[in-house]
């Protein structure tokens, strides 16, 4: 996690840096299905998708995932945010073979509030990345995936 | 709640192991005399025990695959392996029959009381 997130700027100080760094318009506006879904690490996928992987942690993103997945094949994930002018929401799972699970394009008038069900192969960190006013914000939570047993 | 059975269970397992140990030594002697015939006999015994367990509704789910493996080994000429597998299959079925007898007499022990 540590090294994958080396570009993740968590402080307010970092936040100002991000403003400058992501000034360039993200590629996404024109993108259809992105090659980012094939990339096998978080940084690379974000770079491919947004043209940048510099993000600020935000407590204004509500990422709803279970602490312990009842079933790794079907894990409900919801992302909701009050950040302004949201244009894109992505969901990543850092230890899946390809971390980028889904990416939603949010046009004006559509709520920054989406739900989906994803697969998690093992215990890992699920993160939501929100593009707001052209900048990237993120929040994350670990989801425990237990394998084995009999189905209860 | 669960302890009342463990002693009996252990006794059951030991009995079964003892039976197996005895029959094993018997078969070993036979192996040296006429390996083919002894193997055939052991397979026959294993299948009979399996049929008995099955008839009681207590066959174990992996017995058949152990027998199949044994037959494959026999076909490939690996008599030692075939012998071990037949022995294992027979052993399982002997335990399964014991289990059936035990269940028949003592199943009510698991019924919650008032």
């Amino acid at each position: 996690m540590q090294e994958k997130r080396r570009l993740l700027l968590k402080s307010v100080l970092g936040f100002t840096t991000v403003l400058g760094a992501v000034a360039a318009m993200p590629k996404l506006a024109m993108a259809k299905w992105s090659k980012a879904f094939d990339i096998e690490n978080v940084d690379g996928a974000l770079g491919e998708l947004y043209g940048s992987n510099e993000m600020a942690a935000s407590d204004q993103i509500k990422l709803k995932v279970p602490e312990i997945a009842e079933n790794g094949a079907v894990v409900p994930v919801s992302v909701k945010t009050d950040l302004p002018n949201v244009t894109n929401i992505s969901i990543l799972a850092d230890k899946n073979p390809q971390p980028l699970a889904a990416s939603f394009i949010i046009p004006e008038g559509t709520a920054a509030d989406v739900s989906i069900r994803i697969r998690l192969g093992e215990t890992q960190v699920v993160s939501a990345v929100v593009e707001s006013n052209g900048k990237l914000y993120t929040t994350e939570q670990e989801v425990k995936v237990t394998i084995g047993g009999c189905g209860g | 709640m669960a302890n009342y059975k463990s002693n009996k269970l252990i006794a059951l397992l030991f009995t079964a192991l003892f039976i197996t140990a005895c029959s094993e030594s018997g078969n070993d002697a036979a192996v040296s005399a006429d390996p083919e015939a002894a193997l055939k006999q052991l397979m026959h015994e294993a299948k009979e025990a399996q049929a008995h367990a099955h008839q009681l509704g207590f066959e174990w789910s992996n017995t058949q695959s152990i027998l199949d493996e044994g037959q494959a080994a026999q076909k490939a000429g690996d008599h030692a392996k075939a012998h071990a597998l037949y022995q294992e299959a027979k052993h399982q079925s002997v335990l399964a029959v014991e289990q059936a007898n035990y269940a028949n007499e003592h199943w009510q022990l698991l019924v919650p009381g008032k």
Partner: protein, 278 residues
């Protein structure tokens, strides 16, 4: 009192029975329900229909989210289509069942006095087919589970009332099912009751064990492990394999009797099938 009545009936009824049966299904349920109420003091009785989701908050939340748009909706619709499509002879399932097959799930399995056998809903569906010149469907999953699931939805919320009549054969079937439920079998030497009575609410590897009370209310169930709707007997076979016991045939007398006992135990609980489960 009742026990004595049953006993004398059993004795009267049969030279065929070597040993008299002592079953008193009603008393069994009183004991069983008390057992589970004591074990799960915070679970409302009707909530037992929801299995582990009655007491595992974390799992319940995810489950409710899934149930909000459940993965089995398609299958239930498919079941309805099958149910409503007439057979080649012009008749349909509705002709085989009381009340046109609707709102009857809560009474199954039933004891059929003529054959002296327990009739599960899936067996009745296939008997209806063969009586009308159609081929029987394979048991366990697929169309039979879809039809059964659709029929269950027409009984949603109805209170389960499986009847064991005072017929020695019915009592014998019930008793045989009960025995099967408590017999330890397989390489792991476990009975149904080992996990789902005495360890209910406990953990087996990564899973929380569901109480036997309420098991049958939500079947056929959509199992994520199978990614399909399955009947309760498909689950029995799965459980048997998990303790490394060779399963009985689906709809064998053994499993029908087991289902009879198992379903009767949930008398008083609401039907809520199909439900999604691990």
């Amino acid at each position: 009192m009742k026990a004595i009545t049953y006993l004398s009936l059993a004795l009267l009824g049969a030279g065929a029975f070597a040993a008299p049966t002592y079953a008193d299904p009603k008393a069994d349920n009183e004991v069983m329900h008390e057992f589970f109420k004591k074990r799960f003091p915070n679970v409302e009785f009707a909530e037992f229909s929801n299995g582990v989701y009655a007491f595992d908050e974390n799992a319940r939340e995810q489950w409710l989210e899934i149930e909000d748009f459940p993965p089995y909706e398609d299958a239930v619709e498919h079941g309805q289509t099958l149910f409503e499509t007439p057979f080649a002879n012009g008749k349909s399932y509705a002709d085989c069942f009381e009340n046109g097959g609707l709102n009857i799930r809560q009474g199954y399995p039933k004891f059929d006095a003529d054959s002296g056998q327990v009739v599960t809903l899936e067996l009745a569906i296939n008997e209806c087919r063969t009586a009308n010149g159609e081929e029987a469907l394979p048991y366990g999953r697929g169309d039979i589970a879809a039809i059964s699931a659709y029929m269950a939805t027409t009984s949603a919320g109805e209170i389960i009332n499986v009847v064991v009549p005072s017929d020695p054969k019915a009592l014998a079937a019930y008793e045989a099912g009960k025995k099967l439920f408590y017999e330890r079998r397989g390489q792991l030497n476990m009975a149904c009751a080992t996990c789902h009575v005495h360890s209910a609410g406990g953990q087996i590897r990564a899973d929380i064990l569901s109480p036997a009370l309420g098991h049958t209310t939500h079947f056929p169930a959509y199992r994520f492990a199978v990614e399909d709707l399955v009947t309760i007997q498909h689950r029995y076979a799965g459980c048997n394999k998990q303790v490394r016991a060779k399963p009985f045939e689906l709809q064998s007398e053994e499993y029908r009797n087991l289902e009879y006992y198992h379903a009767h135990m949930s008398n008083g609980l609401p039907v809520n099938g199909p439900g999604s489960r691990k």
